[in-house]
Amino acid sequence: MTAPLEGHGLTFRVGAKTLLEDVSLSVGSGRLTVIIGPNGAGKSTLVKLLSGETAPASGRVLYGGEDVRSIEPWRLACLRVVLPQASRLAFPFTAGEVVRIGIDGIGRGLGRRDRDAILEEALRRADVAHLATRAYQSLSGGEQQRTQFARVLAQLAAGRSVSREQVLLLDEPIASLDLKHQIALLDAAAEFAADGVAVLAVLHDLNLAAAYADDVLVMSRGRAAAFGPPREIITDSMVSEVFDVALKVGASPGPGQPFLIPPRRRTASASPAP
């Protein structure tokens, strides 16, 4: 059976510099895969290639076994949804209008009522319903990010009318969110996975990766260094080799979920007296 999203031997260069070399991965239906790796490891480049936004120098991206380049744009927009890193707008759209742009023209056979219902649900789930009439530009970074997430939710819901085998790509989705909304967003992503969506997220926080990922893909210097369940992947040796950090990985009691806590470096006597 073909997976909703597959990348085969993806290589990408800019000039003489190879940003990505021979990366392959497959994201199965209902799986939540998290990409981790240090800065410049090629995580965002990989997401751009997988989304079809950039063409690889060699290798192929397949959606449900179909080459991404042979899928018409409107159908691709129903199959795969992308949450980009934060973006700015030149015109004074309200947050509600930004979300609305995410469903205009997406999907088939949806009436105005259906779209309104999708819109309302997306605004509510991303916790931005109260911001809908505010100008997008006037929102804080985190609020803008949540608005974009609402747009993504709406696109995903509208796209369902065309295909149920969908892929959700999240590029550092929680970078500017507070803890509550980080958890809410990843919960929503996990719910989509439980619903059969193939989810791929770039995260920097290894603890959250360990908490949410079914599989972890470790990127290092443009290559896929490791792939597997978090418990097997997030280890002392991986953290020291890939991230160049000497930290002990702990395991939570019970499920044995790996976690990292940077030890306190300053002794109590070094801090000023209260």
Partner: protein
Amino acid sequence: MIATSGPALPGTAPRWRSSAGRIRGWIVLFALALLVLLTGLASLGTGAVSLPLARVAAIVLAGREAVLGDPALVRDGVIVFDIRLPRTLIGLLVGATLATGGALLQGLFRNPLADPALVGVSSGAALAAAVTIVLGHHFVSGSGPVPFTALPIAAFVGGLGATMLLYAIATRRGRTSVATMLLAGVAISALAGAGTGLLAFMSDDRQLRDLTFWTLGSVAGSTWSKFSMVGPVLLAVLVAAPFLSRALNALVLGEAEAFHLGIAVQRSKRLLILLVAVGVGCSVAVTGLISFVGLVVPHLIRLAVGPDHRLLLPASALGGAVLLVASDMVARVVVAPAELPIGIVTALIGAPYFLWLLLRRNTVLDA
């Protein structure tokens, strides 16, 4: 009160998609259409011979044949039908096209400061028109003046060349720099202006008169034959533009985002450039350089109905028609019996507005 992520309260209708917004849009469109009609009629009555609105309406409703057969109406009938009507219609269409062109360019560059005249598109078209006027007779057989058909085509090619050059210079890896765009526009305008000046230097008296008319802008030379030539093209541009609304809305989020939303980005951009070049080129061919209409109108419309292109484009077209014909009436009246070139009037309105925009949003170049 702190909003929480709990379920929405039943009965809290979200205001942002309220039908009130849609109704407001329709009201604005309707009001603008009415304004177009009134301005058009007023324009038919304004000039050296002033005619009351009622008489203009009666003449138009009676039709050309009936009016010319009636000795009491024949003088006014000739004025309305043969002199002022083509001028008014061309003014309406050119105004609508320039405002639409401005809105399209602003969407393409994702910046509210783009204007066909400001960024050199019109100057490119004018240069090509000037080349045709002054040097055209070398290219056509016989020694008569260049056929008018050649002008819109030349102006279109000039406008297209300038737009593509501008876009290529201002866009690096999918991101359009506004500062680069405005500065490149200044350079392109200056270059095209120098070329036009050089041609003026080389031209004879008749050509010089034609050129002056082009560089200052005027609808005074409007005739039915010009109207029948560019009218259908401008109308086609105006009808085609709103079909790009969804692409323009998505492009506001960014080119990558537009692609993610299923927009064929490159094709949409090419189509946008083509529409602007055709529309502005044909406009420049009949009326010369008229600046700031494309800047002022979409901006005012955005303040009134918001930035959604589905409403912005048709509303800008109507607003542009009103502004251009009203400016033409001013141009005809202030120094009567002589006439000001209309480009001077629109620049007098538009340039201070542009400065005010800059003062109000001092971060505009960083966008």
